[in-house]
């Protein structure tokens, strides 16, 4: 039991892989490096899979890619609504990134989303985007006025929302990934064969993808509310 506790603790600590020797040394965490790997994989896949696209006599690869992209964009568009079309590409990218980083643990990498800093950054990006969407849709005046709605008494709660929303987004993603990880480690301790594979399907694949969906769903819900 001691060994498990130590192993979990070791996995929880964010290790610095290397330090960039500039501005007095910038530490680069493991989650950043794994994020770079995910970025590289996504970019290379995007370049390879979209090569030689034509408008006539499309190849099977192009047809498959078109279906995947249309489905993903349609999924996000259904959440954010017609008016929020401008935010669909960003939300889809976040969906892909969180989805991949949640399930990358299967391939032996450390999930970037298991690092609180990563989920916090994602949540802050989301809430900034929501506010920008509100300003773009209503103008500065309308955006400021939206804090007074529905009645002036709730203004403190509306301002409090600016803090609690990213906090809950961040903690939900982090807690779920961490919880799944700890439970998987404990299951591996009980029985290291067969059993972890079954539970891994639920905790790593299903829960990871579901949390990516929930994160994007909530962000698009906030955007929809802000631009109404």
């Amino acid at each position: 039991m001691e060994a498990v506790a130590e192993h979990i603790q070791e996995e929880l600590n964010v290790q610095t892989v290397f330090t960039i020797p500039a501005f007095g040394g910038i530490p680069v965490a493991e989650s950043t490096v794994v994020t770079w790997i995910i970025m590289a994989v996504l970019i290379v896949l995007a370049i390879i899979l979209t090569r030689g696209f034509t408008t006539r006599n499309i190849s099977k690869r192009q047809a498959a890619m078109e279906v995947i992209v249309t489905k993903l964009l349609g999924l996000v568009e259904g959440m954010v609504g017609e008016e929020g079309m401008a935010y669909v590409p960003y939300l889809t990218t976040v969906l892909l990134y969180i989805g991949i980083s949640n399930i990358i643990g299967i391939f032996g990498f450390k999930s970037p989303t298991k690092d609180l800093n990563v989920t916090l950054a994602l949540a802050i990006m989301s809430i900034v985007l929501v506010q920008i969407a509100g300003i773009r849709a209503k103008g500065i005046k309308g955006w400021l006025h939206s804090f007074l709605e529905p009645i002036a008494i709730v203004t403190p709660f509306n301002i409090l929302d600016l803090i609690t929303r990213p906090l809950s987004l961040c903690m939900r993603l982090f807690g779920n990934v961490l919880g799944a990880f700890v439970i998987m480690k404990l299951i591996e301790q009980v029985l290291p064969v067969v059993l972890p594979a079954v539970f891994s399907l639920y905790f790593d694949l299903f829960d990871g993808l579901l949390q990516a969906y929930v994160f994007v769903f909530l962000t698009s819900l906030y955007i929809k509310e802000a631009i109404e």
């Binding site: 603790q9 929880l12 903690m171 939900r172 807690g175 779920n176 961490l178 919880g179 949390q211 929930v214």
Partner: protein, 74 residues
Amino acid sequence: MNSLIAVGAGIAVLGALGAGIGIGIATGKAVEAVARQPEADGKIMKNLILGCALAEATAIYGFVIAIMIIMFFK
């Protein structure tokens, strides 16, 4: 001291109780709704997932706090 930390972490995880009840009620109502209107199951499913994610958050907070208690008071 160690045993008290364990008790504290256990109490923090009691927050999962609320999430369990909440998700149970939500799922029950969703099943009722689908039984009444099977054609609306897509929309119901979407709302159910959202509601479950929100309800589940309380359990997750409890879990995160329990982990923090164990890690910081060690």
